[in-house]
Symmetry: C2
Subunit: 438 residues, 2 copies
């Protein structure tokens, strides 16, 4: 919808048809946990623009219409009208692919049972809300990704007994385990049971069978991440990249003339590691959609890539990460140093008016280039990761970060901002010894 809106803004006369399988468009899937938790009162609040608003922009949005096949030679799409149960073919001059992602479903018995929910679409949200109506006593979240943990907290707020079961050593696998452990500790403190290094063997009504014993569960949430929804595209011959998502250039163009892609279905360049990655985040989807729309309309815009930035708030902790974590740095062939500092979000003497914050920073051995950072802390912590994300865009070194003119005021930051303090500590790790310039 971002691409469609952008095209309409730039081209008054072009005909724009949007096909959407479900009964919602232009919504925030990231808002689903807050709908379940009750911060958001109405499902419709998650809808940014209604079909009527799109129609007023002369964007022909067709809900309940699934694109079931593509003929790139004939430049046609086969469309199934789900409500009327009939299929027809429509032609296109230019095509924009925005098929999104699907929840990863572990291959275990019972995964298709009706009390097992993915968290990807507003249709999923409707199903989860219907389950919430039944006031489930026990909820099991399989997998420790962002959305899974956010939903774990949402169900805790709703009064359920919540268990998260994760294969990894710590939940939130995009953090290094030492930082993920802080998240696990915060969740346990709030009363969520966190079971790590444990796989799921099967699901039945009332229980999840896990490696170390059964987990009673009236509701099961799949927090195991997503995969790009590209099966139909692959069949049609749309080239996929190494990540399994649609391969695009920096203008969001596939290698097929006049065919674009954006959002969870396509891949991006990770600007630190150089790898092609598929990162399913609404913020990337919006930016890529804008860029695709400008280029679809004959303009020029580029999406350079992602830094792997992510933030969230779990059980009173704010979490941020960007760039490479240790595993990613190793995979990319970097030698690196790390430093972790404990600080406060403002001046320490402000007492309860400020919160603890831990910052871990990675820098390349030798040149001191910043490779990534992770933050876990109280209110005011997570969005500090944006400074590192911006520094990564500019390929800054630790010295550069130390010299940044970051805002200081006792309620808002210590005199050495925690990010700069982490860079200072990493510089100490990079150049040890008493004669070093720390």
């Amino acid at each position: 919808m971002a691409a469609a809106s952008q095209v309409r803004r730039l081209q008054r006369d072009v005909e724009i048809v949007v096909l959407e399988k479900g009964n919602w468009a232009s919504y925030s899937a990231c808002g689903i946990p807050y709908l379940v938790g009750g911060t958001v009162s109405w499902l419709k609040d998650l809808v940014a623009r209604t079909p009527e608003e799109f129609r007023a922009m002369r964007i022909d949005l067709r809900l309940h219409h699934e694109a079931v096949a593509l003929d790139l030679e004939a430049r046609t799409v086969e469309v199934h009208n789900i409500e009327r149960g009939r299929t027809f073919t429509m032609g296109f001059d230019q095509l924009h692919l925005a098929t999104g992602a699907l929840p990863r479903r572990p291959h275990v018995p019972g995964i298709e049972l009706p009390h097992v929910f993915g968290v990807q679409t507003l249709t999923d949200a409707e199903a989860i809300l219907a389950a919430v109506e039944q006031a489930p006593r026990r909820v099991c979240v399989i997998g420790g990704g962002y959305v899974g943990l956010e939903l774990a907290e949402a169900f805790l707020i709703r009064g359920a007994e919540v268990t998260v079961v994760d294969r990894a050593a710590q939940p939130m696998g995009t953090l290094d385990p030492d930082m993920g452990a802080l998240v696990a500790a915060a969740m346990r403190k709030m009363g969520i049971t966190v079971r790590t290094e444990e796989g799921v063997l099967g699901i039945e009504k009332g229980a999840v069978h896990a490696e170390h014993g059964d987990i009673p569960a009236d509701v099961v949430i799949l927090g195991t991440g997503v995969r790009p929804n590209t099966d139909m595209l692959a069949v049609a011959g749309v080239p996929l990249g190494e990540s399994g998502a649609v391969a695009v250039d920096r203008r969001q163009r596939t290698s097929i003339e006049g065919v674009f892609a954006a959002g969870d279905c396509c891949e991006s360049v990770h600007l630190v590691s150089g790898a092609k990655v598929n990162v399913a985040l609404g913020t990337h989807a919006n930016k890529q959609g804008r860029v695709a729309g400008i280029n679809l309309a004959g303009g020029y815009a580029t999406f350079p890539g992602v830094m792997g930035t992510a933030v969230t708030k779990i059980c009173a902790n704010e979490i941020g990460r960007t760039g490479c974590n240790e595993a990613e740095a190793i995979a990319a062939g970097f030698e690196y140093v790390t430093a972790t500092i404990d600080a406060t979000t403002g001046s320490q003497y402000m007492g309860d008016a400020v919160a603890p914050i831990r910052v871990k920073m990675l820098a390349e051995r030798g040149n001191g280039r910043v490779l990534g950072a992770q933050i876990v802390g109280g209110p005011g912590s997570a969005k500090r990761i944006d400074v590192v994300a911006t520094a990564l865009s500019a390929r800054m070194t630790l010295e550069d970060v130390i010299s940044l003119d970051l805002g200081y005021a006792p309620p808002l930051s210590s005199v050495w901002d925690p990010v700069a303090a982490a860079a200072r500590a990493a510089l100490g790790a990079l150049r040890p010894g008493p004669g070093a310039s720390r």
Copy 2:
């Protein structure tokens, strides 16, 4: 003290003597408003390191010792021991100047009265705290700078009737008036009387005489900013720069061999305008002190300059600014566009869990280079300015900022981060018309 500590860290054997006129060293003057307001309970909490701790580091910190004259030829300093009332001379091989700043005092009758307070040293803080003990009913703050406004709020918390009187059209003159107006409105809403475009004619016991009438006041606070404390240095022949502060290079060296300076007494390069500026902020002082210390000890470090970043929290509003405001952009000869957006700190559908935020951005006409930004908003607003400060360091354009991978999660940021949204709006102002790539 930052320089002295750094030298000691790098050089075990050098003799380090520190002369301090007052009875405190290594403290946070920025914490004084929070001491007055009661968030900080004890004056000593503002002291980062005690004289004993410095002595344990073999730093010979001499309190109540004033450097009254310098002989740069003979390489000696004339020292007045205030407690013993005697003066002596000591030699040095290397000299570090850290004389700080003094409050600007309007030249009006009564400015030296005992109920008129500067806010610069812990000695000032002691005097203000003694005045707070008398439970002053009415307080007048002259000038609308950061510290003045912070103290206005502190006295409001203490139950006083507070009036701020400022010559400018809006308080907080480092913001453009349209953004400063938001701060004034927030202060008035909390019950502070804000009188703008009004000069002060004189002060007497119980009242401040202002242009539009008397302001009853048991306590008068000088919020009119500071000037570098360089009179004695100028007499000694230490070269001052265009700003009136000590001129230093990027290694914090004056042009005199072996003489360094850091902190409020020296000037810096404003990295956007290119001007030499004197910005009295603890965060710069700490960084410059570190750099001076490393260079004093024979190492190599540089302080590239400042961006003019500042943040504060006034009457439930967070405020951030960096780079050039409109007046500074004009003075620096830039042609520019501006855009101002109203957004929320998280996704709008999060309701009361997020706060309003207004972001104004300036960019250079033609190339779209970001020149500065200003933010006023609720909790979670101010430190977003750091993204712009970092972008300024890298001389980013609006397109660069739009492409930044900034953290997104509904409680913490809208899907288009407000900073990126402001850049998008500024790009629209830079390249108007329906065919433009906004």
